[in-house]
């Protein structure tokens, strides 16, 4: 087993994390920066919870690009199992190898050990992250863990505490460099306590108005300040409405880009209605939008049905 001591992470102080996020156009607040730093210091996974579209996945992308290391992503879904998450043997290639060996008298004796070699292994995300050769650790994103079955969570526990995977035919792979693990959850269900205990926890909320404006200005090049502010105002107003799916930051960015693309400099009620599909994704929500006082919304006043 090799320890990950060779590599020293570049985040000596919390401000270094902040600077890194900033350099990658991600507006991160203090809790996120501090948690990220501690995750590297303590070698623990981060569990990010929050509504869809508040930028949880983006954290992993930024870290991967900041560390110049691959982002290995495991998208969770119902029924996700070990063969899709860990590894699978490449049966077609094994059969091919056997056929070839049969034709070649000399190689026949060694075929048994050869077909269970690493080159016949399909690496799935978890094994890939463990086997990543470095020089820097990979960023492993386990996305939307709440979609996976609970059995899968239990299975993850083992990997997240020891950072090693056993393939019966080959032996145990231990992480050369402990990957930086980020788990995200939309919180459609509560996760297992044991899994949570192994992680640093952070809830990411919808951003405050100033932060959201900064995000829009950073992420949508060419947008002017007044439009960014108007978009922020509408978004903040809409989030106070009891929609099925409140628009997240992702929708705010989409909308800002849409407005920029349509060359709309000033938002009027008709604009909101015409482009509603960018922001709201349920028919009920859109018809609800039509009943709102859009003038008040645009002025940033509190709106009531």
């Amino acid at each position: 087993m090799t320890a990950s001591s060779a590599w020293q992470h570049p985040f000596g102080r919390v401000d270094d994390v902040a600077a890194t996020f900033d350099a990658h156009d991600y507006v991160a607040d203090r809790p996120l920066c501090l948690t990220t730093k501690l995750a590297f210091d303590l070698g623990k996974p981060i569990l990010l919870e929050g509504e869809a579209g508040v930028g949880k996945t983006e954290v992993a992308k930024v870290l991967a690009s900041a560390l110049d290391t691959p982002l290995i992503r495991l998208q969770c879904y119902e029924g996700l199992d070990a063969s899709a998450a860990l590894y699978e043997w490449n049966y077609a290639r094994q059969i091919l190898a056997i056929r070839l060996a049969e034709a070649d008298e000399a190689r026949r004796s060694e075929i048994d050990s050869a077909i269970f070699g690493p080159e016949f292994l399909f690496e799935r995300p978890l094994l890939k992250a463990i086997r990543h050769p470095g020089p820097r650790p990979a960023v492993l994103l386990i996305d939307e863990i709440d979609r996976a079955d609970e059995e899968f969570e239990a299975f993850l526990l083992e990997i997240l505490s020891d950072y090693q995977i056993t393939v019966p035919e080959l032996g145990t792979f231990s992480a050369v460099h402990k990957p930086c693990v980020i788990l995200t959850s939309n919180r459609t269900r509560e996760l297992n306590d044991a899994l949570k205990r192994r992680c640093l926890y952070l809830w990411i909320d919808y951003p405050a108005p100033d932060k959201e404006r900064d995000i829009i200005t950073k992420r949508v090049p060419g947008i002017d300040r007044s439009l960014a502010e108007a978009v922020t105002r509408v978004m903040q107003g809409l989030r106070a409405v009891d929609f099925y799916k409140r628009p997240g930051v992702a929708e705010a960015l989409d909308w800002a880009r849409a407005l920029l693309g349509l060359e709309i400099g000033r938002i009027v009620p008709e604009t909101v209605l015409e482009t509603a599909g960018v922001v709201l994704k349920y028919r009920d929500d859109i018809s609800r939008l039509g009943k709102l006082d859009l003038d008040a919304l645009l002025q940033g006043k509190a709106i009531e049905l």
Binding site: R30, L42, I111, R147, W203, D242, D284
Partner: protein
């Protein structure tokens, strides 16, 4: 890197203790991580100090809020005050006796008198469950197991490996043969998979349902134990998920924990809001065709019937079957009077009586068609 000074250690330990006392999952391992974390940050910065402790000690958003409160109290900001809600909720929860409950109305009374009119065996099964909470009634458990079996077994189109399956799985047979140099030594077989049904149970625990609490609890507990993947939520004016507590084996422990966590027990009723919350969270994910929603409520509601109808319409798009169990239904003189119930009826696939063991038996028979 600075090593933490003595007063800091004492203070941090005190906060850890306070957090544990407040109900946060502060284990020894987590406390150790807190100290490891402190060595890594500038703990002179009060904000960083708080955040470093928080990220290590909490496991949910509610925990975060609770921790911030504990932290503030520790440093003498006393604007936060503990409410006595837990004790209240617990006593309400355990007050599961119909006579002592004192909230009976005509529907309940019907139910009590009706039990006398059946034969010996019938009487045993029609026993008013409200009065027999802790009786370890085996018939009910059997019925629940049967219910779970009927709800959760549906043959899938897909096949899964099975030792004595009806089909020969050629692909897997091929793979197996690799070991033997491509000689087919044994055939792999497969059978149809059982498709998982996800059951979401939404239980009304408002004041008007108090009389049925023992029955409800037994049903929730039994169903959750039998079908591990199902989810149970209770609502009155708010919604709380109690799935994780129902997984515990001890009923007493579970009741205590639910009493601690669900503070709106015996409150008013807002079916519409509860459904909305459900639509937005639990029902949003996962396959609509695999989901059966069971609502247990008497339909007496403080909200508007239109809202219930609108939310049910939305919910129907996210589920396969809607089962409404009404404890008031089944008494001979019962008519649907609750406006909320009337609004809901057009969306309900199975409207079932279940206020006692016999009624539950009927319910299970009715559910044969749900699969």
């Amino acid at each position: 890197m600075t090593s933490p000074a003595e007063p800091l250690v004492a203070q941090t330990l005190a906060i850890c203790h306070a957090a544990r006392a407040a109900g946060l999952p502060v284990t020894q391992a987590r406390a150790i991580d807190v100290f490891r974390a402190l060595a890594m940050i500038d703990w002179h910065d009060a904000e960083d100090y708080r955040l470093a402790l928080r990220t290590n000690l909490v496991a949910s958003r509610e925990d975060e809020i609770l921790f911030d409160r504990v932290f503030a109290i520790h440093f003498g900001h006393s604007e936060f005050e503990h409410d006595g809600g837990a004790i209240l909720a617990r006593s309400e929860l355990l007050r599961g006796n119909l006579e002592a409950g004192g909230r009976s109305n005509e529907g309940h009374r019907d139910m009590l008198t009706e039990a006398d009119t059946f034969g010996a065996q019938e009487v045993q099964r029609r026993a008013n469950l409200a009065a027999r909470w802790d009786a370890d009634a085996p018939p009910l458990e059997q019925i629940i197991r049967e219910l779970a079996r009927r709800l959760a077994t549906r043959p899938s189109r897909r096949n899964a490996p099975a030792r004595h399956g009806a089909r020969v799985d050629l692909r897997r047979s091929m793979r197996r043969s690799v070991r033997h140099g491509l000689d087919l030594v044994e055939l792999a077989r497969s059978a149809r998979k059982t498709r998982k049904t996800r059951i979401v149970m939404l239980c009304d625990v408002s004041g008007s349902m108090d009389a049925f609490n023992p029955f409800l609890l037994q049903l929730m507990f039994g169903l959750q134990q039998a079908l591990k993947s199902s989810r149970t939520l209770v609502f009155s004016t708010q919604v709380s998920e109690i799935t994780q507590y129902l997984r515990r084996r001890s009923v007493v422990e579970t009741l205590g924990e639910i009493g601690d966590k669900v503070r709106h027990w015996s409150g008013g009723t807002d079916v519409g809001a509860a459904l909305r919350e459900l639509n937005r969270t639990v029902l949003r994910e996962g396959s609509a065709r695999a989901t059966v929603l069971i609502i247990i409520s008497d339909g007496y509601d403080n909200g508007t019937p239109e809202r219930i109808a609108a939310e049910l319409e939305a919910a129907k798009r996210r589920i396969r079957t809607l089962v409404w169990i009404n404890p008031m239904f089944g008494a001979t003189t019962f008519v649907v009077r609750a406006a909320g119930m009337k609004a809901a009826l057009p969306y309900v696939d199975h409207f079932l009586p279940a206020f006692n063991a016999r009624a539950l038996h009927d319910l299970v028979k009715g559910l044969a068609a749900v699969g």
